[in-house]
């Protein structure tokens, strides 16, 4: 569903990787074009900023490029890709976290986005909601609700147990629910 029509539209990920490793620049670009949109939107939700998302996209692709020869083809490429993305993204957020204040004292913001019909506004609402979460919860929500990985896959990508992944998801859901309730209260009070 994420595949876009390219010159390598019909080739599998593994075929593109083999060709790229053999020196085909076109195969590498085919692979990049196949996943860049998905990775960019992933980074957008993880950071809430288009500039940061671009940085992460390039960072992740650079890492993929450097490590391509070590991809063993056991398991889906996309799972491996998001494992790298998770590492790079965590690293990025930690570095950014040092530059900015902690996210614990975020103001109550309207993240429902319900009364704005526009798609981009809805995206903003979702990004705002994601921004409330600590990085480790954000990862689980992203990988589960947007990338549709299984809990086992998520566990492998984040280097945690499947149970930890689940409890992080419930903690995140609780946090988001509280935020929504606060917004409702504010609206009623207004």
């Amino acid at each position: 569903m994420y595949r876009e029509l390219t010159m390598f539209g019909k080739a599998t990920d593994e075929q593109l990787i083999q060709k790229a490793l053999a020196g085909s620049e076109r195969a590498w670009f085919g692979l990049v074009r196949r996943y860049e949109k998905r990775l960019y939107n992933y980074s957008l939700r993880m950071t809430g900023s288009p500039d940061d998302a671009m940085d992460i996209l390039q960072d992740v692709l650079m890492s993929v490029y450097r490590n391509l020869a070590s991809y063993r083809g056991d398991g889906a490429f996309v799972a491996w890709l998001f494992r790298i993305a998770s590492f790079r993204c965590t690293d990025f957020l930690r570095r950014r976290g040092r530059q900015f204040a902690s996210t614990d004292d975020v103001d109550v913001i309207d993240v429902s986005g319900a009364d704005t019909g526009d798609g981009i506004d809805r995206n903003k609402g979702l990004m705002g909601m994601m921004n409330l979460l600590p990085t480790e919860q954000k990862h689980v929500i992203e990988l589960k609700f947007f990338q549709h990985f299984t809990f086992d896959e998520i566990a492998g990508q984040l280097g945690i147990s499947s149970n930890t992944a689940k409890s992080r998801m419930y903690a995140a859901l609780k946090k988001m629910r509280k935020q929504n309730e606060n917004v409702m209260l504010l609206k009623e009070g207004a």
Binding site: G23, R38, M54, S63, Y65, A69, F146, L173
Partner: protein
């Protein structure tokens, strides 16, 4: 039904329950638990809500960026023949600059010089090629004849000798090229030297930069596996 789900067991299955992918028995057990557990019921609603919100995400377009920026160095992957190729083109460049000439024992000669009015036409070149092929063929025939007359009986020995002959020829070709290369080097002008040095220096510089980058990447890799 005697067995009932605890909250923990229920939460284990809740995501699959919302997505209706649970087997009938598990589905029934979750259903039962939800009827009398408000907490799990709230969790279930949360999952459902976030899922419907997530599906409303509209993928945003990737801004323009330089995809080519890091496809410039083959070093992370096994060495490819790029060095050989660039060396060959460099050699040709120098031969052209130095008006060099390559000739094989077989009789084929290629002129890289423009030599005033001298101009090798296509039919002429084809003729030369045919001639050299004929020469090679007759050379081959004569060596086979020589071998036969010398009464070398086993096919194996014959094959080995033929292979040796052609190997020898190839070695001579390479030797000729090397001599030409050396001559060209001796005669080279300052400008050629300068441009060559620049080429090599920039290659080395690129490599060093890439190595530094690679080291930094490796550093990060060892820190966290990637």
């Amino acid at each position: 039904m005697k067995t009932e789900y605890s909250c923990e067991q229920c939460k284990e299955q809740l995501f699959d329950f919302v997505n209706s992918v649970l087997p009938p028995l598990e589905k029934q057990l979750v259903d039962q638990h939800l009827q009398h557990c408000a907490e799990c019921d709230t969790d279930m609603a949360d999952i459902w809500n976030l899922q419907s919100q997530a599906s409303s995400w509209r993928d945003e377009r990737v801004p323009r960026w330089k995809r080519r920026q890091f496809f410039f160095d083959p070093s992370p992957w096994p060495m490819r023949m790029q060095w050989a190729a660039s060396f060959a083109s460099l050699l040709v460049l120098i031969l052209v600059l130095m008006e060099g000439r390559i000739s094989t024992v077989g009789g084929l000669s290629i002129d890289f010089a423009t030599n005033g009015s001298r101009y090798v036409s296509r039919p002429e070149l084809m003729q030369q090629l045919a001639r050299s092929q004929d020469l090679q063929r007759s050379e081959f025939d004569s060596s086979v004849q020589k071998l036969t007359s010398a009464q070398i009986a086993t096919n194996q020995l014959l094959l080995r000798t033929v292979l040796n002959v052609s190997r020898q020829e190839r070695r001579e070709d390479l030797g000729n090229m090397l001599i030409l290369w050396e001559q060209a080097q001796d005669q080279r002008s300052m400008s050629t030297e300068e441009s060559l040095q620049y080429l090599i220096a920039s290659q080395i510089r690129d490599r060093r930069e890439i190595e530094v980058l690679n080291d930094a990447m490796l550093q990060v890799s060892t820190d966290r596996n990637f």
